[in-house]
């Protein structure tokens, strides 16, 4: 067994994901308790065929845990059980657990359960010599055999110490009893009162050494949280931490709260933040399964961002759980309606579920447990926690942080996209959260007031967003009747301009633009005018040129005519004078014509 255990430990350490797998063959056989969460902590349940000690002070739920172990065994796992009660009668027990919906009489009738009330009264018993507890063995043996019981609960066997004076005999007999239970092959639960400085008042842990579970509770700020710890579990791995547990109308649920390891499946899918420009800033929206923190001072619009996210999830046809710890659902719906987000419609369609509870109703663990249960029941792909800072009312910063770490781990392991809002107080550092969870957050949006010119305006920053390119620019964040809108802010010499300064700047820029436009138009006109003037000039010049050239042409023609006339006259003169030409011929009309 030891070797198997060692081997398993190595394997487990090497691969965290295999932890939740079914036990391997060399591992101890286990009897599932059916109690929510307990089977996870013990990796399958209590050691089968062996006794388990459940110890704790009065009122911690030992009896209930025992009864639930039997009832669930009988109803869910087909293992009949025997309850040997030393403190309460059958009728009392039946009445006590009836509020949890367990009908013990029905199980008794169906031969799935036997309750044997053992009455121990010191004043009636006189010790007169040696004895043993064979009577107890016989009763138990008869009960086990008559219904073929596989499970036995002895609640609280230590009561016999008050009935019988000889502790030595009792110890020897108890040792024998537990050995005998093992040989009977029944899975036994023995409850014991918590003792001073020891697990049980009479040292039962010495005899029942296979598995010891300790129930405890702690009161912090007047709030009590029940806790459970597996002190020891021979031959098996088990969660070693303290786990809070809850007793409600469905019985016990234990919350395995430690981180299951950083091996969540991640997604590249984006989900909308509900604000278009924010999606653009983030390059498409939040990653599915990521955790988003929206922090900011009072009135910066954190809940509105959360409301947008919830609406976007519903719009995409996905369920969303809205855990409100400050406002009532009606108030949230009314307020969201004022910025154009209709949450009431989604509630009606069953896609949105509100869970509103003042944080100081329960302790932190209880809240965590409740959220776990809600998520397990409702299975939402999107969750809103508004705001997380309210949990500081029930725990200090460290506790709230550890609760949130566990919650975030849980949400991530389920691939749930979650938006947390966090209230930052005026005096606090802006880029910090009261709870100090920023390092666990994937996308952190900071909403802040930008104060200038006697105004407060809202600004939105993406402080970080793991694994995605995101805009580094501040945006002005406006809440309008059509929802949140992001606007570019103006950066001037005085810094960021928002609100009326932005409007003024916009007006200034508009005026400047108009001026520029006018200037352009004026220049255009001047150009046109110049071109027209030039054209006119060209036309005039051309006209005068044409007149001139016509005149010149005409003069030229006249000159030519005159020249011809002169030539003709000269010829005539020569003919008349009988002049010869250079060839000595007569210059006749014919000759002239020939030349």
């Amino acid at each position: 067994m030891k070797r198997a255990f060692k081997k398993l430990t190595k394997r487990q350490l090497g691969n965290g994901a295999s932890r939740s797998r079914a036990p391997r063959h060399e591992q101890l056989e286990k009897a599932p308790t059916g109690i929510q969460g307990l089977d996870e902590i013990t990796f399958g349940g209590l050691p089968k065929g062996r006794p388990t000690l459940i110890c704790g002070s009065a009122g911690f739920g030992k009896t209930l845990m025992g009864v639930e172990f039997l009832v669930r065994g009988a109803m869910e796992y087909g293992e009949p059980g025997v309850l040997m009660a030393f403190e309460e009668t059958e009728a009392e027990l039946a009445k006590n657990v009836a509020s949890l919906g367990y009908d013990l009489y029905d199980l008794i009738e169906k031969k799935k359960l036997i309750i044997d009330y053992v009455h121990v009264e010191r004043s009636e018993i006189e010790e007169a010599g040696e004895y043993d507890l064979e009577g107890l063995f016989i009763r138990l043996g008869l009960a086990i055999d008559s219904i073929g019981a596989k499970r036995v609960v002895l609640d609280t066997i230590e009561a016999i110490f008050s009935g019988f004076p000889n502790a030595n005999i009792l110890r020897a007999e108890l040792r024998r009893l537990f050995r005998w239970l093992k040989t009977k092959g029944v899975t036994a639960v023995i409850t014991g009162e918590r003792g001073e400085g020891a697990l049980t008042r009479h040292g039962l842990e010495e005899y029942v050494s296979d598995c010891v579970i300790l129930l405890d509770h702690r009161v912090n700020d007047q709030m009590s949280t029940r806790r459970l710890r597996v002190v020891k579990y021979r031959g098996s791995l088990h969660g070693t931490n303290e786990y809070p547990f809850l007793i409600d109308e469905e019985g016990i649920s234990v919350l395995p709260v430690t981180s299951l390891g950083l091996d969540h499946k991640i997604s590249f899918e984006r989900v909308s933040s509900g604000v278009q420009r924010l999606d653009a800033m983030l390059g498409g929206g939040y990653y599915r399964g990521s955790t988003i923190l929206v922090s900011g001072t009072a009135g910066t619009g954190k809940s509105s961002m959360a409301g947008h996210f919830a609406e976007a999830a519903c719009r995409a046809g996905e369920r969303c759980l809205y855990v409100a710890s400050e406002e009532s659902p009606d108030q949230i719906m009314r307020n969201m309606h004022s910025i154009g987000i209709d949450l009431a419609g989604w509630v009606k369609k069953g896609l949105l579920k509100f869970d509103a509870e003042r944080p100081n109703i329960y302790g932190l663990e209880m809240h965590l447990l409740r959220i776990h249960k809600l998520i397990s029941q409702y299975q939402p792909p999107a969750v809103v926690l508004d705001p997380i800072t309210n949990y500081l009312a029930v725990g200090d910063q460290l506790e709230v942080k550890s609760m949130l770490i566990r919650l975030i781990d849980f949400l991530k392991s389920k691939g749930i996209t979650a938006v947390f809002t966090s209230l930052t107080h005026g005096g606090d550092a802006m880029e910090g959260t009261v709870i100090g969870v920023s390092s666990l957050i994937d996308t952190w949006l900071l909403l802040r007031d930008i104060e200038s010119n006697g105004e407060r305006n809202r600004g939105l920053y993406v402080i970080k967003s793991r694994g995605m390119a995101h805009s580094n620019q501040i945006r002005e964040f406006l809440l309008t009747s059509k929802g949140a809108q992001l606007l570019d802010v103006y950066l001037g010499a005085e810094g960021v301009l928002t609100g009326s300064a932005r409007v003024a700047q916009e007006a200034k820029e508009t005026a400047a633009a108009i001026l520029r436009q006018q200037e352009i138009e004026r220049r255009q006109r001047e150009l046109d005018r110049k071109r027209a003037a030039l054209d006119a000039q060209i036309a005039a010049l051309r006209a005068s040129y044409e007149v001139e050239s016509q005149e010149l042409e005409m003069g030229l023609a006249e000159e030519r005519l005159r020249e011809e006339k002169l030539a003709a006259d000269r010829l005539d003169m020569a003919r008349i004078r009988r002049a010869d030409d250079e060839n000595g011929r007569w210059k006749s009309k014919n000759n002239r014509k020939q030349s």
């Binding site: 044997d116 053992v118 009455h119 121990v120 009636e124 018993i125 006189e126 010790e127 007169a128 010599g129 040696e130 004895y131 043993d132 507890l133 064979e134 009577g135 107890l136 016989i138 009763r139 043996g141 008869l142 009960a143 016999i160 009935g163 019988f164």
Partner: protein, 113 residues
């Protein structure tokens, strides 16, 4: 002996003052172990000496009648139950402590102890 009523005839008178109620006693034993035998012998002797004929002793083996163990709230063995006269008393052990039994059965004045 098992599952049988053992009636012991009166041999000599009781040395108790006045009382003449009949004692109804049941001795539950777990099998015929030496301790059981011892218990039966011891209680018989005490009864004979102290109660003479004023008693009705029944010895019951809870191995034979296990359901009686539950019905009669038997935890230890051997257990002697004084059913009558009231109040109901229980004695556990092999009945070797005669003084204690006599005292518990109101058969011995307290100042004698």
């Amino acid at each position: 002996m098992s599952n049988s009523k053992v009636r012991v005839e009166k041999e000599y008178g009781a040395d108790v003052d006045g009382a003449d109620d009949t004692y109804v006693l049941r001795l539950y034993i777990a099998g015929t172990t030496p301790r059981s035998t011892r218990a039966v012998m011891n209680i018989k002797e005490i009864c004979e000496k102290a109660l003479a004929s004023r008693y009705d002793l029944e010895v019951i083996d809870i191995y034979q009648q296990p359901s009686l163990a539950k019905d009669c709230q038997i935890i230890a063995a051997p257990t002697l139950i004084k059913e009558l006269p009231p109040p109901l008393r229980k004695f556990i052990g092999d009945m070797s402590n005669t003084e204690k039994i006599l005292l518990g059965l109101d058969l011995k004045p307290k100042e004698h102890v």
